[in-house]
């Protein structure tokens, strides 16, 4: 057991620092995933719709050099 108040303070501050790190890593990862992430089962319907549009010829490969 810590014997001095300063020891308690050190432990408390260390726990705060670790907690902040964990929170910050999680926040950064969530933010990154909003921007860039994998497509998985949650996106299956959207993917299937896009693939259907390709299969039916509704979507053709874009051959233009610029977007209009």
């Amino acid at each position: 057991m810590p014997e001095r108040w300063s020891d308690y303070l050190t432990i408390f501050m260390s726990a705060l620092a670790v907690g902040y790190m964990v929170y910050e890593i999680d926040r950064r990862q969530r933010k990154l995933r909003e921007i860039f992430d994998v497509l998985d089962a949650e996106d299956a319907a959207v993917t299937a719709r896009l693939e259907d549009m390709v299969a039916s010829g509704e979507l053709q490969p874009y051959t233009g050099a610029t977007l209009v």
């Binding site: 890593i25 950064r28 299956a44 979507l59 051959t63 977007l67």
Partner: protein, 171 residues
């Protein structure tokens, strides 16, 4: 000339032309790339417009499908939670779709519309283009993406804690 650039067209069912790394030639399409862009006056839209030709040239083995304004609007009317996230670049991994369809990992996507500055959007597009080139022969694309996301999250947090400037993407 850019206008004459050939885009190969995979035929048949999704993923039927995708091959495992050992079988695929470098020119075999690995991905189908879809662009959804309703045309918001945003940095992401401008960056995509300005650099599309370059992306096309860098990814000439893989077909790019541009939904166009009307189809993009229709798409977002059905996925309203994604309004404002566009331009969205969705990449379908034909190799993964050949293995497991869409039930599991089958690609990845970039939401350029979430980036607030021109510089952020350009950096994201450049990173994305690099990622596509570097990983088009990958046999563990999902693992590489997930490891990359973990690494980036950790690196960003450490930079903040150390008092450095926030990273450009997601900053």
């Amino acid at each position: 000339m850019l206008q004459e650039a050939v885009v190969t067209e995979p035929s048949g069912r999704p993923g039927t032309r995708a091959r495992a790394e050992t079988e695929a030639s470098p020119s075999t399409p690995r991905f189908r790339i879809f662009i959804v862009d309703t045309g918001w006056d945003s940095p992401g839209h401008k960056v995509l417009q300005e650099n599309f030709g370059l992306i096309r040239e860098l990814q000439r083995e893989d077909p790019i499908y541009v939904l166009g304004r009307e189809k993009s609007i229709e798409y977002l009317r059905h996925h309203e939670e994604r309004i404002g996230h566009d331009p969205i670049i969705a990449v379908h991994d034909l190799a993964a779709m050949d293995d497991t369809g869409t039930a599991d990992f089958h690609g990845f996507r970039l939401r350029l519309g979430l980036l607030r500055t021109h510089q952020q959007a350009l950096l994201a597009l450049q990173n994305f283009a690099r990622f596509l080139r570097l990983h088009r022969q990958s046999t563990d694309l999902e693992g590489e993406i997930r490891r990359g996301l973990r690494r980036e999250g950790l690196a960003g947090a450490i930079e903040i804690v150390l008092g450095h400037e926030a990273r450009e993407i997601g900053g």
